[in-house]
Amino acid sequence: MKLSISRDAALPAAFVAAVTRIFIDLALDGGPVHNGVWIAALLGALPVLPYLVCLDMVGVGKCRYATVGRLLAGLLLAATALDGARIVSVVLRASGFLVLDPVSPFMLVLPVVLAALWCTCRNGDAIGYAAMLWRRAFPALMLVVMILQWRHYRPQWLRPWLGNGWGEIAGEAIRTAGCYVPATSVLLICRHDDETGKRPFTVAWIALASAVASLLLVFRLMMTPSGTNDMAWITRLDALLTNGRAPLYLQLPMIVAFFVGLMHLLACECFAAAALLQRLIPRLNGRVCAGIVILICAVLPFVRSFRSMLDRAMPWLFIAAALPVALAALSQFHFNGGKRSCES
């Protein structure tokens, strides 16, 4: 089985993955939420746009400089698989919070891992078109959430606008740029089926993704006042899912939006990592690649210091990925005039 995805399917998959990844990182997983995170979400997209232009130009398997292509694929494979493991750990902690009785972490992880494996084995187009459907369903769901929460939104809580200042915003923006690397790695392995037809503009899609993530963060910031003390991860999740105030029966839309978004993100990243692995070792069957990647994603969250290691690497991730992508794109441009991808 060969893992592949068309460009038409890869773009919505990358869009949903990018929005979810940025939102999870800035609103939940990246420490205290301060007022400037929505600006960081916008600024983080700026260096990513040229990166995506380069990514659009390169492929992996048949680059003129094979070493650069393999280095790029290996790097993105590692980043995407590790990020998939991080998403599994978010699911693990969030499920543990919502399940009323104590349950073994293994049992919490197993369903989501099985679902991700099944999605990956259905191949890329299934994941991409599912993301396309979610992209349409999500705004409707968010509309319900916003109507339910409208009374509690306080625009005054957005001020002071810059949060802890430009220094922290810049740090968050670099982290945000790092979030795009695993979320958009699916674009590297997508098929360019119709080169002559009208091609969706990748940069516009990802710019839109950053705007959507930023808008979601604005609404998140209006739910709770900016705090001087760091709230625990669980409290941040509670504020995100229930606003701390929503009656139990009104929490469902937010919980559905959160977990379905996470599932799309995980499926996209697992598929991208498995497909990259297959590009590096073409003899491997796609299902085997999917199994290896899923196993990594399932096991790593249980490794001590995994999250702290990933947190330390996150600010450097974008720079580490951007350099080989730029190098590969330059080589393509030089030898192919930038008209064809490496795989076509």
């Binding site: 301060h34 007022n35 499920s95 919070f97 399940v99 009323l100 009785d101 349950v103 049992m107 919490l108 197993l110 369903p111 099985l114 679902a115 099944w118 306080r154 005054q156 809580w157 001020r159 002071p160 606008w161 810059l162 949060g163 802890n164 200042g165 709770t224 006042p225 900016s226 705090g227 001087t228 003390n229 709230m231 625990a232 669980i234 409290t235 509670d238 504020a239 229930t242 606003n243 701390g244 105030r245 929503a246 009656p247 139990l248």
Partner: protein, 370 residues
Amino acid sequence: MRKLMAAALIAMLCPLLCGCQDTGEVENQAYVLVLALDRSGDGALALTARVPRIGKGGEKDGKGDSGGSSYLTFSVSAASWSGALDELQWATPRRINLSHIEMIVVSRDLAAEPSFPALMNAIAQTPHLYANARFVVCRDSARAFLEAGDTVIGTRLSAEIQAMLSQYASQGFIPDACLADACYCANGIYGDPVAIWGYVEEEVTESGPSQRVMESPMGQRFRGAALFQDGRFVKALDVDETRLLNLICGQTATLSWAWRGDTIELMPVTPARKKVDIDADSVTLNLSVALRLTASAFRGDTVALVASVKNSIAELTASCQRSGCDPFGFAESAAGHFATVPGWLAFGWHERYRRARINVDVTLSAATNP
């Protein structure tokens, strides 16, 4: 077809894997409806929990039989919140479940302790504790307050608490305060949290400061607001002050105003507008309230009525300024003058708020006939 069957099998397996394998029967759960916290004589944290009784006794009592309570009360004490919860697990024959708490009551003495902000955070961050529970500070012992309340209307204590407090909040007698809001405000960079003020009335007949006389079969009273500063209780407001507080905070649809032996129904035309002017060395608070008469039959002196409301608002804000607590939301408006949170924190809002000048503007328009 084979793939479809495999997908269906996986889908069927998923619910079995996640939590449902070890189902928690309702009969095995002790759903805590009200929690009361006190500081005991030996300095320990005293925790009292009220849970519904399950079985024939509960069903019988639940139908209104006066032969006993439908609820069990458990009391434990420990050095810390987590220790008290652990003790409660031991004292209760069923598994403690905090996901359906309706009300958390804290005694005034405990709420005024320096360690209370940390305790409030610990409570709010307890896994599976329903943070939307109403937050009440009571004048005396929280345990006595809890024991003074039992089902009067309906058959369920939880339903009664919800209905009663919603009714009081809509009338403006109490603030619409929940634990999550109090915790967010206490940890936030803006104003101060508020809670519901409660006390136990031994006498059936109560005569309040505004010459109201009330008879009620309930021993518990929910009247007024408890104000906090830096996460600690500082003072309580009576019903009339609480109505004004709710008016300023935009939490009430009507204002019943006792004036010259009569009660006049007023309605805010728009939410009260708060603006803060910051100069180099002074802060000016501007509060603008626009009211409308709900009945066109009023023929009294509207100028005097406006002056009465204005004076009361000025007295309330001055009283809160002296205590250093800002439950009105002036801080949120003032924070807009700053670009960054460190700049805002360095400004030292609470100290400046104490010394701020306040301009109150009240306008009253006549009732519009339909």
